[in-house]
């Protein structure tokens, strides 16, 4: 068990280092640099050089890279080139806004998707199944930002129940939820759609397994068969999808933040691209990658809890 955990953690760290390196160089491949982005078309060549010196862009890229890694080890994400504020402050300031959308979307997605998928599987080829399949297909086909606009029209524009602009006040959870509900719903609907379909197909597969027939033959109640034996076995793909989806949601939140004019990580990235703010870009991307890696790690570890067959031996097995 501990070896398994150690191995996963090590793999995660290596992935992170590779990703950090890739990101560091990738953002610098973008044409133009922060000095040019800030000064636009107006500046003399000498002025640009002065600015580059101030921004620390005149030292060789390799030195910048080593310095970046060194700072990172000390937990320092650097100072934004365009805003002059520590990136960690920028991130912490907007983290609640992104968190409420991602976590909210996951909760909404799971709360709708898992029960809908189970119902759909149990009532296969009946009205409820067709309805769930139709709605989930629509949910998959529509991108999050389209769903967002479709939600805005009735709930924000006509009924006026929810605000459309801004993220609310960070010191008030009620305000965060009020402002975050529609964006979270927009993300959650897409996720619910995926989960419905996955839960349904997994469940159908499991219901055809021998052990379910055996359980039924033993005379167990329907309820016990469906919710104990079947659900537990269906959880592995569902947890995997939840993990993957939380990573997708972070990406989706960029479009959602723009549509809802909310502050958040996505807006930081967009601004970082237009301003060629390498420090902000690499740090926010790093947070994304770290998040994805941690989610994967947690999912891997959860398998052990869900499926006792996954143990030490499996490392050598695969």
């Amino acid at each position: 068990m501990w070896l398994y955990v150690l191995e996963r953690v090590l793999r995660t760290l290596i992935t992170l280092l590779l990703a950090v390196t890739l990101i560091f160089f990738a953002v610098r491949v973008l044409p133009g640099d922060p000095a040019e982005a800030l000064m636009g078309r107006h500046m003399s060549a000498e002025g640009l050089e002065t600015l580059r010196r101030q921004m620390g862009l005149d030292v060789p890229v390799w030195d910048q890279y080593l310095q970046f890694l060194g700072n990172l080890l000390r937990g320092d994400l650097g100072i934004s080139l365009a805003l002059g504020q520590p990136v960690s402050t920028l991130l912490w300031d907007v983290a609640p806004y992104t968190a409420i959308v991602v976590v909210g979307a996951m909760l909404i997605g799971a709360a709708i998707g898992i029960p809908a998928g189970i119902l759909s599987a149990i009532h296969r080829n009946r009205a409820i199944d067709y309805l769930a399949r139709f709605i989930s297909l629509s949910g998959i086909s529509l991108p999050g930002f389209v769903i967002a606009i479709l939600l805005m029209l009735p709930l924000a524009v006509y009924l006026g129940w929810f605000p459309m602009v801004g993220g609310g006040r960070t010191d008030s959870p009620a305000s965060l939820v009020h402002f975050g509900f529609l964006p979270a719903l927009a993300g959650g609907i897409g996720m619910a759609a995926y989960l419905t379909r996955l839960t349904r197909s997994t469940y159908l597969e499991i219901l055809n397994e021998d052990y379910i027939r055996t359980a039924r033959a033993k005379g167990l109640s329907d309820r016990r068969v469906l919710y104990k034996h079947a659900l537990r076995n269906a959880l592995i793909p569902i947890v995997t999808l939840l993990g993957i989806y939380s990573i997708i949601m972070i990406g989706d939140s960029i479009a959602i933040e723009i549509v809802f004019s909310r502050p958040g990580f996505g807006r930081l990235i967009m601004g970082g691209i237009t301003q060629r703010d390498y420090v902000v870009l690499q740090s926010v991307l790093l947070v994304y990658v770290a998040f994805a890696a941690i989610v994967n790690l947690v999912v891997d570890l959860l398998y052990v809890l869900i499926d006792p067959r996954i143990k030490l031996g499996r490392i050598h097995g695969d």
């Binding site: 973008l30 133009g32 800030l38 002059g84 605000p163 459309m164 967009m270 237009t274």
Partner: protein, 527 residues
């Protein structure tokens, strides 16, 4: 010629009033909350120190927080400069010396003391400094700035410049605004970059990156305390969200894209549409360094292949089609009659095909490939032009890139054709200098004409405005005859406001492409 000058320099902007005007001023009740929220399309500000480049996003902030020595009449761009931080000024030595008498008792925001002649010197010296200022070349003609006494400052120019006051005027998207020496010395330029200190009717209060800037009323304002308590500028890059937020009342005003359907829809919903000049010039430049565009017959063919009416119907009522280079609200613009007939731009696809055949491209035509920004106005116009060129056998390949990349690359002359929307203080000289002078950064045609350069030099030295305008017209003829650029269309800027927002002035022209709120701007109670 004389007509144009006599009728006032920049008189009669070609603005189109689509709906309503300013609601009747007196008998209106005021709303309780005197706050206006304005949405800008950009995702964030670049800098709030006017020494660095700033554009339409920063303009509604900077021009109400900071002020110039002089200002234009409200809602208008003309030579009729009005006192602002300077109470009066005298022009001596044949236009070389400007002596400004400053208003007394004007206070900087946040206790930075009184505005004095030292601040004016500090500001102009800072703007002139090539190492820190993006605008240094604008101040080339300034020889010296001298503090005469606490409230008097003397600016000496190397040569007379009848347009010098525009360089110290407010309501602008470039320079002119006075900076606090004390604030820069105490806080340092780095800290001032996103925290402006001014003397204006509104003071900077809060900046939340990627989200908003909040300005609050300056209770000590010398020009009378403003009606509005607060101005919120929100960064909202999504067009759909801006439109919906206008309907929910979460924003009050915004700048609209140039899109005839959108304007139509908003008007039907009861919003007021203001259109303001000066016009943006949508010029299509042709790079004469690139084959086969080095052949004037090919350039002419491209010019005659493009149908301006298509562009106009896409852009809607804010657009005017032109066969001359510069909109007639600009000083020194050539008129239709000034340009010889064979050099005028007109739609004639048959002639285009003949010209191509003559140049040896009759059978197969040829291909061109270029990058274009994903921004709607640019992109859609180029897509229409792509279709027009196809009709005469020219295959134009468009590669989409982001807006910043587009602008950073076109100055490296990677494109055979460059679409560029330019706007300036309404003086033809500025647009001509930027685009056609030998070696100019935005000389996208890579054109070089000694005659043209000499005409511009002459115009720059000329103090008689009529002769100056004549020289500029001659320069435009040279550009037209060589077919290095197509004027395509001019567009006025549409701005949208809820009828409850009373601007307090009649908006016709502004160098701020967004709303500039004034002391008289107020929010009316809704019926």
């Amino acid at each position: 010629m004389s007509n144009r000058v006599k009728s006032g320099l920049f008189a009669a902007a070609a603005t189109v009033v689509l709906a309503g005007g300013v609601p009747a001023a007196s008998a209106q009740e005021l709303a309780e909350a005197q706050r206006v929220t304005h949405a800008v399309t950009a995702g964030d500000v670049g800098s709030l120190d006017p020494t660095l480049p700033w554009v339409s996003v920063e303009a509604p902030i900077l021009t109400v927080v900071l002020e110039g020595l002089v200002d234009y009449p409200p809602g208008e761009i003309s030579m009729d400069f009005q006192p602002s931080l300077a109470e009066s000024w005298e022009i001596g030595d044949d236009g070389r010396i400007y002596t400004f008498r400053l208003r007394q008792g004007v206070l900087w925001h946040e206790d930075f003391g009184e505005f004095t002649a030292e601040d004016v010197k500090f500001t102009l010296d800072r703007y002139r400094d090539e190492d820190v200022s993006a605008w240094a070349s604008n101040y080339d003609k300034v020889e010296d700035v001298e503090v005469v006494d606490r409230y008097t400052v003397k600016v000496t120019l190397k040569e007379a410049d009848p347009l010098f006051l525009a360089l110290v005027a407010g309501n602008t998207e470039s320079v002119g605004l006075m900076l606090s020496r004390a604030a820069f010395e105490k806080r340092g330029a780095d800290a001032m970059r996103l925290h402006p200190i001014g003397t204006g009717p509104f003071a900077f209060s809060e900046y939340v990156p990627r989200d908003r800037v909040v300005l609050t009323r300056n209770e000590d304002y010398w020009g009378g305390v403003a009606n509005l308590e607060e101005i919120v500028i929100r960064f909202m890059p999504s067009a759909t969200s801006r439109e919906l937020a206008l309907r929910t009342g979460e924003i009050d005003t915004m700048r609209a894209s140039i899109d005839s359907q959108l304007l139509d829809r908003l008007q039907k919903q009861g919003f007021v549409i203001d259109t303001q000049g000066p016009e943006v010039h949508w010029w299509l430049h042709m790079n004469t360094d690139v084959k086969p565009l080095d052949d004037i017959r090919v350039r002419k063919a491209i010019a005659h292949a493009i149908n301006p009416e298509d562009l106009k119907s896409f852009l809607g009522p804010v657009a005017t089609v032109s066969d001359t280079l510069i909109a007639n609200s600009y000083f020194g613009a050539a008129s239709h009659e000034d340009i010889p007939e064979e050099a005028r731009w007109r739609y004639d696809p048959k002639l285009a095909r003949e010209l191509l055949a003559e140049a040896g491209y009759g059978e197969e035509g040829f291909e061109l490939s270029m990058i274009i920004t994903e921004r709607d106005d640019y992109r859609q116009m180029m897509v229409l032009i792509q279709e027009h060129l196809k009709q005469v056998g020219i295959e134009l390949k468009l590669n989409l890139v982001d807006h910043a990349h587009y602008h950073s690359q076109i100055v490296n002359h990677v494109n055979p054709l460059v679409m560029f929307g330019d706007i300036s203080y309404p003086n033809a000289e500025i647009l001509l200098t930027r685009a056609f002078r030998t070696g100019a950064l935005r000389n996208f045609a890579r054109w070089s004409s000694t005659d043209f350069d000499q005409l511009l030099d002459g115009a720059g030295r000329e103090t008689d405005l009529e002769t100056r305008a004549f020289l500029l017209v001659e320069a435009q003829k040279l550009v037209a005859q060589d077919f290095i650029v197509l004027p395509t269309t001019f567009t006025a800027q549409p701005l949208i406001r809820h009828p409850r927002v009373d601007l307090g002035y009649d908006l016709r022209q502004s160098l701020v492409l967004e709303y500039r709120f004034g002391t008289k701007t107020r929010i009316l109670a809704e019926k």
